[in-house]
């Protein structure tokens, strides 16, 4: 076995690989897992988050024998940005009963995509609100399903009551290039925000 690299002379800040975290949020069934799958470099994986971590009283778990009752699955993928930087994409749990997990999950996230199914706008209201509340920059991506009506972006923006500075883009979450373009739009949005922040200093 090759154990080269075990003695990192530089220590933790020795210029090694780092990560950034991007969230894929949205209501139940809006295509979050689909987007993670289409844009990830690796076969997407699932990890389990336990509810106890989020502060559910341990006593409430007593007698729970069904493991699925105490854990929630997170789908995630990975994009190698360059030799030194890895981007992790985490799909947020869509079910309402898991919203409380979001605080921990979104902490430290660079930004987020909020997916919207234009046939069921209301299912993503909460996701947009949560991201704004947590101060995570977002881009709203309308996932165009085959039987979606053609909605002008402005109409959707009004219906969702989105702040004027949040970009709204259309995409097909099943398509790699389309999903990548959403992430590019998101990064561009963040760069504009940062540039403005720099000017204001």
């Amino acid at each position: 076995m090759d154990f080269n690299g075990f003695d990192h002379p530089g220590g933790p800040d020795g210029g090694g690989t780092r990560s950034v975290k991007v969230m894929i949020a949205g209501g139940f069934g809006t295509g979050k897992t689909t987007m993670v799958h289409s844009v990830s470099d690796i076969k997407p994986l699932t990890t389990e988050e336990t509810l106890t971590r989020a502060g559910v009283g341990v006593d409430r778990l007593i007698g729970v024998t069904d493991k699925t009752a105490s854990t929630v699955s997170l789908d995630f993928g990975k994009i190698g940005i360059n030799e030194q930087l890895v981007l992790y994409l985490f799909g947020t749990p869509g079910q309402e009963r898991f919203w409380f997990l979001w605080n921990g999950l979104c902490k430290g996230a660079l930004d987020a995509v909020v997916l919207v199914d234009t046939r069921r706008l209301a299912s993503s209201f909460r996701a947009i609100e949560e991201m704004e509340r947590q101060n995570v920059p977002v881009v709203v991506a309308l996932n165009v399903f085959p039987d979606s009506r053609d909605h002008p972006v402005d109409e959707i923006r009004d219906a969702l009551d989105i702040s004027p500075y949040i970009p709204v883009v259309a995409c097909d979450a099943r398509d790699r290039a389309s999903s990548r373009d959403v992430l590019i739009a998101l990064t561009g949005h963040l760069m504009e925000r940062s540039a403005v922040a720099l000017e204001l200093r």
């Binding site: 075990f6 990890t47 988050e49 930087l85 660079l110 290039a177 760069m191 540039a195 720099l198």
Partner: protein
């Protein structure tokens, strides 16, 4: 003459030994962590996107899961990926990682924070991300 023996359960020693990972679900987690439910100290800040990197090779006699973590993290691997590969939920894995962190056997690299002292993310970082995405 001995009386016919009543069939009994085999003595414990002759029962098939439980193989590693035999206990299921919560019982398995209890065994793995020695009953600890959550990490303290340095591991309590672990994130799903935190990268773990081994600093030492596995040594004989180590708990199997510790050994497995050291083996898999020769190249940096996120806590989420480790959890997926080892089939362990976050908080159980965090307990195991806390042991390794305390012993100096792994290092943990937090994700690059979104906000740097009240400013937005670093422009240079965003440019890096952008050009990486454009190459996809």
């Amino acid at each position: 003459m001995s009386a016919p023996r009543r069939p009994t359960d085999p003595p414990p020693s002759s029962r098939p030994r439980p193989s590693r990972g035999d206990p299921q679900g919560l019982e398995r987690y209890y065994v793995l962590t020695g009953g600890r439910s959550g990490p303290g100290g340095s591991a309590s800040s672990l994130d799903v996107a935190t990268l773990i990197v081994s600093r030492t090779a596995p040594v004989p006699g180590m708990q199997h899961e510790h050994e497995e973590i050291l083996r898999r993290c020769r190249d940096p691997l996120s806590v989420a990926e480790l959890g997926a590969h080892l089939g362990l939920p976050f908080n159980i894995l965090a307990v195991l990682l806390a042991d390794l962190l305390e012993a100096g056997r792994v290092e943990a690299r937090d994700p690059i924070p979104a906000h740097d002292a009240g400013r937005g993310p670093d422009l240079a970082l965003l440019e890096e991300v952008l050009s990486g995405l454009q190459r996809l």
